[in-house]
């Protein structure tokens, strides 16, 4: 078991008020899983992600990450855990503007105790893994949005973390680039990488094997993607929209990406944009 959360509570103090961001979350994630965490804003999903990513400590509860009790660790010890166990992918990439792609990917290795020898070669391998072997010397402003997020993913992977933690990884990207990034996540998952994606987009979550939904700081549902009622409803709605679209515009090229999905029902799912175009 990679991750075990038991009775996680997080209480923020805002002035004199106490805000319960998490009210007792139990969650287990095994090695090699691809999990989406979903929830409306205020549901506590950001807080959960911060705790999962060892950026924050729970007020109460136990968090065991790879047999390490991280809930009560010091800030310095948590830094090392983040460095070795967790790779972050952020919505706004968080690349250093003046550094080349290679330098950006090398950043976590600068703080690594284990991998300081041959950091450049490691970073190069990570960039090749995300398909940017020919863009190593480019600065972020010379790269497209998708390429920037790939650099960020390479940076997350460079220390071979046990968890890849992505917070709205496609939030700043257009739909086509989102597809590319999602495809990359799927490829990484098929190589055995544990991935946790925090998102509010159903079609992104649909790529995960398991969806954990949060509401008011508690787990609302936790089920495999194909059994998740909300997701099934979403798929059905999309299918109707696609059928309508096919009827009114028979020549419309099919821009769905569902064909490369192995575990979800084989229905054509158009991207939200094309669904919107079809509506009027």
């Amino acid at each position: 078991m990679t991750i075990t959360l038991t009775g996680i509570q997080k209480i923020y103090r805002v002035g004199v008020e106490r805000v319960h961001a998490l009210r007792g979350v139990d969650l287990s994630i095994s090695r090699g899983e691809f999990v989406a965490i979903m929830g409306a804003s205020g549901s506590g999903k950001s807080t959960l992600m911060n705790i999962l990513g060892c950026l924050d400590r729970p007020t109460r509860g136990e968090y065991i990450l790879n047999n390490k009790k991280v809930a009560r660790m010091s800030a310095a010890a948590l830094s090392q855990v983040r460095n070795e166990e967790i790779g972050f992918v952020f919505q706004s990439f968080e690349l250093m503007a003046r550094a080349s792609a290679l330098k950006n990917v090398m950043l976590p290795l600068a703080y690594s105790v284990k991998h300081w020898w041959g950091a450049k070669a490691r970073a190069r391998r990570a960039l090749e893994r995300v398909g940017l072997g020919d863009r190593m010397k480019h600065a972020p402003n010379q790269l497209s949005g998708g390429q920037r997020q790939r650099v960020a993913i390479a940076r997350a992977l460079v220390n071979e973390p046990s968890i890849l933690l992505a917070d709205e990884p496609t939030g700043n990207l257009d739909s086509r680039t989102s597809e590319e990034i999602i495809a990359l996540f799927r490829a990484l998952h098929s190589e055995g990488q544990t991935i946790i994606i925090v998102t509010h987009e159903e079609d992104i979550a649909g790529n995960a094997h398991r969806i954990v939904r949060l509401k008011d700081g508690m787990v609302l549902s936790d089920s495999p993607t194909r059994e998740d009622p909300i997701h099934r409803e979403y798929l059905a709605r999309m299918a109707t929209a696609a059928a309508d679209l096919a009827r009114t515009h028979p020549q419309q090229p099919d821009r769905s990406y569902s064909s490369n999905r192995s575990h979800s029902p084989a229905v054509a799912i158009p991207s939200p944009q094309s669904a919107k175009e079809a509506a009027p």
Partner: protein, 412 residues
Amino acid sequence: MIVIRLLTQTVLLALAQMWTNKVRALLAMLMIVIGVGALILIVGGSEGFKRNILKEFESVGANKVWIFPRFPHEARARFSWRQVRLMAPEADGLLAHCPSLARMTPILEFSVPFQYKEQRKPFVRVQGIRPVWHEIEQRFVTAGRPFSAIDLEAVRNVCLVNDKAVEEMQLPSGGVGSYVLVGERRFLVVGVVETKLVSPMFNRGDAQSEVFVPFNTAQVMRPDSGIYVVAQTKKPELFEDAKAEITFYMRKSRDLKPGDPNTFGVEAIEQYIAQVRRIGTMMTMFLSGLVMVALLVGGVGIMVIQLVSVTERTREIGLRKAVGAKPSVILLQFLVEAVVLCMTGAAIGLGIGHAVVYAVRVWPKSPLEQAAVPMWATAVAVVFCAGVGVVFGMFPAIKAARLDPIDALRHE
């Protein structure tokens, strides 16, 4: 090993950071540059000033002690000239009674007309000396011979002249062997003494004609004239002892009662040298202190810029923390940045300061041709600037290290 690597990386990072914000970094370290430059300039200048004065003293001769007759200020009327004047027998007792003295010569000085054939000077300075005078004054005979013991014993009419006199009187064949008239007496020139330019502080600058005669001959020419003594101590640091011994001996030989003032003067060149050194050091310390205050003000500039930098780079700090930078590492990064900023400023200031000091030194007819920056000044500047960097960089660095990664990543 890992610490060294981290430090190297941090220094490189700080240099890169400075390079990307060149103008801002330059403004931040301006005060440091000015302060260090001023420090180097002040120390170099006052060192040059001190060395100049010391050189002037040394041109008179180190280790030297003068003993001369002097009416006491407060009791002028109580003593007659006969009591005060210094005569040869009293001077001759000095060496036996003052163990700190290595050698001495009495000097009888007067001024008389000087003539060679048609060349005539109404006045020339004549000094009656003993041969040991050459060693005390470090002025040796360059042609001919010095006085011998027989010259003194036989009261011969022989003389030494300096190069200037040879030139002025147009003496043939380098001067030696010519007969000259000194105070209407006929003297044989037996040797030529090198002319020594005593510094303008003690003399009028350009060399004068000088004539030297044996002390005994001078006594015959001026039997009642008072003399003075130039002596040399065995070591420079013995001047206090020498003064005490001489005073004791002179008071005893003059039978002065306790409470009576001295009727003679003793002066050592070393006491002035020590005083100049002390004043020079005090001046340097005082001015350096002022400059250090300027450097502290410069430190405040560094702190302000570092605080701006921390605020500006909050997201970067958040990212670094997220990927595993410990708070101590972030602290080190910003501390090193402040120190690098200070040290760069110090390096520029050192360069400017040294360049200006060098320019002052090689400037034609520079009054400070001895200006030089001692090693300790450079070392003090570097160490102090590093200290300023650490002290004033600490607060921004702590601020950066304490940032919460979540808040930092959310910072706009």
